[in-house]
C-alpha cells in the first residue's frame, strides 16, 4: 500500500514518524550488540595469542571475583571454544584464531549492512520531518 505522505494530516505523519524512530532505535541497539560481540571475540583472540606465546605458564585462576589461586598452564596449544547452545570444541591455537577471525569477519559484514540500513532509515526520518514541518507551517498560515 502506497500512501502519499503529503496528503496526510500532521497527526498521522507524527504517528508514522514515531514508528520509524522506534525502528531506528531498535536497529541502533542491534548495532551496539554487534559491536559488543566483536569486541568480545577480539579479546578472546588476543587471549589465545597471549597464552600461546608466553613461556611463563603460571597464572592466577579466579575462583570468585575476589579470590584467586595460583595455577599453571599445562598445555598452551589447546583451547575449548564455546560455539553456542552449550557445545564446546577443542581447538589448537591456529584453529582457534581462525575461528575467531571468521566470526569477526562475519560480524563486520553484518554490522556494515546494518549501518547502511540505519543510514537509509535515518534519511527517511529526515524527509518525514521535512514534510511534517512544511505541513505545520501550512496549517499555521491558514489560521
Amino acid at each position: 500500500m502506497v500512501v502519499d505522505l503529503t496528503k496526510l494530516e500532521p497527526e498521522q505523519i507524527l504517528e508514522f514518524k514515531r514508528q520509524l524512530t522506534t525502528e531506528v532505535d531498535h536497529l541502533q541497539t542491534s548495532f551496539q550488540a554487534l559491536k559488543t560481540a566483536q569486541a568480545k571475540y577480539q579479546e578472546c583472540g588476543d587471549n589465545v595469542r597471549q597464552v600461546n606465546s608466553s613461556s611463563k605458564k603460571e597464572l592466577l585462576v579466579p575462583l570468585t571475583s575476589s579470590l584467586y589461586v595460583p595455577g599453571k598452564i599445562k598445555e598452551n596449544d589447546k583451547f575449548l571454544i564455546d560455539v553456542g547452545t552449550g557445545y564446546y570444541i577443542e581447538k589448537d591455537t591456529k584453529q582457534s584464531l581462525e575461528f575467531f577471525q571468521a566470526r569477526l569477519t562475519k560480524l563486520d559484514e553484518d554490522s556494515k549492512k546494518l549501518e547502511q540500513l540505519i543510514n537509509e532509515k535515518s534519511q527517511v526520518v529526515e524527509r518525514v520531518n521535512g514534510i511534517l514541518r512544511s505541513k505545520i507551517m501550512e496549517r499555521e498560515k491558514k489560521q
Partner: protein
Amino acid sequence: MASQVNLEQLSQQYTKLQSDLSDLVRARQKLETQFQENKIVKEEFDRLDDDAKIYKLVGPVLLPQDNSEANLNVDKRIEFITGDIARVEEKIQQHQKDLENIQSILVNAQTA
C-alpha cells in the same frame, strides 16, 4: 441493545486477539534466534575434522561428547525448531485472519 452487547464482545475479543498475536510474534522471534544459533553450531560441526573433540555443557560441567551424537543432536534440534516455527507461523496467520474478520464487522457496524 442486543447488537451493542454483541459489538462490545467483539471488540473485547479483538483486543484479546491482538495481545495473543503479539505474544505469538514474540515466540516466533525467540524461535528464530534459537534456529540461527543452532544453524551456526551446525556449520561449525560441519567444518570439524572427524577426530575433533566436542564437549557439552551440562549444568556446571563439560562432558565429552561423541562427534556423531552431537551432530545428530543438533540436527534433531533444528528439525524440532523448524516444526515449531511452522506451527507458530500458522497460528499467527490464523490470528491475523480472525482480526481482519472482526475488524470488518466492527467497521460495518460503525458505518451502518
